[in-house]
Symmetry: C2
Subunit: 356 residues, 2 copies
């Protein structure tokens, strides 16, 4: 039913619907159910131990012989300026005190790099049909090695300039991630939340700027969104939040209950949790940190400071619950049924739009 079949051919799938690789939420059963329904199932390998990634890929391969996607974070080794750490500790002490957590940790654990030689070897060894990257893309040597191995490469752009640089680096397709998207923004540099471009403005400008297929992401949660993305010139879509309600995800019961009450307005983009901008549920902690923005410890190192607060506070005070602005449209089908429903919905929207 798809008039643009570029992604179907590139990825070896039936429907140009990519399930977003949400680390910590995706499971082998989610990825394989999406794959078996003809979409592209994904597994986030971002911060997972290499052994766990191997085991989970083994599970996917037991459950499907269709294509799937492994996702990695392309980040440098984290380095936090001592003055930035000091200033951050000063802001966090009242939260630690209020929650009875004692003093915040005075040192930050080493983190990253996100895509190192060990992960390159892992990827070359596991050889998924598709590998996708967040926060940029690997260096030229790695890209060449991965291409020689026949792996299709995808990365994320949050603006036109990033899309151009990904095409120049040899990516086979580009995800255009808009403001609405849940989870971490894939920006290649540190950004302020208010710098983000919305999906409706981003997709057509990325489509005009690059010649590889563009995958629209952000705010797309049903057939209407898929049809809109195609209208904007995207070859397909990536959807995360839409799959959060599937029984195959690792979403806990409390978070499922929260998602059922989600509205268009109850998330914000903040770097207060990880050190990089991510769209997560609103909380007093996140709002307070956003109202007075300042530089925070490097990506992922910041978790060492925010995790105790997240763990001790109730959800309204502080939680790192990642979802997008269209969570209100989420349904709780099984992941395979979800893909079928999305395809059916898209067909009916497109038929409704057919003109005289």
């Amino acid at each position: 039913m798809w008039s643009d079949r570029r992604l179907c051919e590139l990825f070896g799938i039936d429907h140009p619907i990519v399930q977003a690789p949400m680390t910590g939420t995706c499971t082998p059963s989610l990825a394989s159910a999406v794959a078996n329904a003809g979409g592209l199932g994904s597994l986030g390998a971002g911060e997972k131990p290499i052994d766990l990634v191997r085991r989970e890929v083994g599970e996917i391969r037991k459950l499907t012989d269709r294509s799937f996607n492994l996702n990695f974070f392309v980040t440098d080794a984290a380095r936090t300026d001592p003055a930035v750490l000091d200033a951050t500790l000063k802001r966090l002490r009242p939260w630690y005190a209020k929650l009875g957590l004692g003093d915040p940790p005075a040192e930050l654990p080493p983190c990253g790099p996100g895509f190192d030689d060990a992960r390159l070897e892992l990827l070359l060894d596991l050889k998924p049909k598709v590998a996708s990257f967040h926060f940029g893309c690997p260096d030229q040597r790695s890209v060449e090695a991965l291409k020689r191995a026949g792996i299709v490469l995808v990365s994320t752009a949050t603006n036109v300039a990033e899309a151009r640089s990904l095409e120049a680096a040899g990516m086979d397709a580009i995800i255009a991630q808009g403001w609405e998207a849940g989870g971490h923004r894939g920006s290649h540099t540190l950004t302020e939340p208010w710098e983000a471009v919305g999906t409706m403005a981003l997709v057509p400008q990325v489509v005009d700027a690059v010649s590889v297929p563009v995958i629209a992401a952000g705010g797309i949660s049903d057939g209407r969104g898929i049809a809109a993305a195609l209208a904007l010139g995207a070859a397909g879509v990536q959807m995360g939040t839409a799959f959060l309600g599937c029984p195959e995800t690792a979403t806990g019961a409390a978070r499922r209950a929260r998602l059922r009450r989600a509205t268009d307005s109850d998330t914000i983009v903040t770097d207060a949790f990880s050190g990089r901008c991510a769209r997560a549920m609103r909380s007093h902690f996140a709002e307070e940190m956003e109202r007075s923005r300042q530089q925070l410890p490097a990506f992922i190192q910041m978790y060492a400071l925010s995790e105790p607060i997240i763990a001790a506070a109730d959800d309204d005070d502080a939680s790192f619950h990642l979802y997008g602005q269209a969570a209100g449209l989420m349904k709780e089908n099984g992941a395979g049924d979800m893909v079928e429903r999305l395809v059916r919905e898209t067909r009916s929207v497109l038929k409704r739009l057919v003109i005289a």
Copy 2:
């Protein structure tokens, strides 16, 4: 060619394309050219003297007998807390000093209310086919009087809750304004920039929440965007930035030149200029004010403090140039040709999407 003709019938137009009422930029010749091409031309009457509005409406009526729309700001009389004013002056003094402007004004002029009895009388007297409102909608008594006069009423929602309240107040159609939109955000209360919902997530959720027709706004600049909005369930679109390049606008030569270089990323949402969030061109002043957010003087009163800075600084340092995130897609057709081009483009996108 439109399968959803609700707006065509409600407004008495041929194409469900509303030209946004950009006060200071719209002209009678712009509104009438759009109207004559079958769209809904609009004139911003927000802060204009009543006599000027009368004169401009007279000009529109000389140029077209088609429907047009008059737009008003629904704001309370401005009241600024002296402590807020003091804190703001402290932040602005370095800018005034740097630009050789002496001391900032120590008192703020009275402003508003935006839609008072005089404007209600004006509207009842001029009786345009359509009146639209920004920042909320008039009180019940006014809405009833306007409806009795046969004027079709429209207002703007930036989230689902606002859309519901506008439907309850009797609006005949609702503009769903996403994050991408240029100019002032129509939020009914003061908001932080990072609270905004993107068009792709906003439109389908507003469509599901209300039964009146929804007009999508924000990031829509060509036929792809119009087709996407229809796919999301909107009955039509409102476009502002797309018309900024038309020769009929009051856009000055320097701003036209700047718009020709516009990218997806060179605007931000800030309240640093007027006291309410608006999407405008990035500048050092706006970025500095956003990096350290704090309460500012009331809407429009804040202009008294920012205007000297805008006037004295160069554009990169401080300018209040309002446009959206899809300005990169702007073309410089005449407004009538623009409407025809948009219709043609939409038809071709929809045809391309027709499925087997």
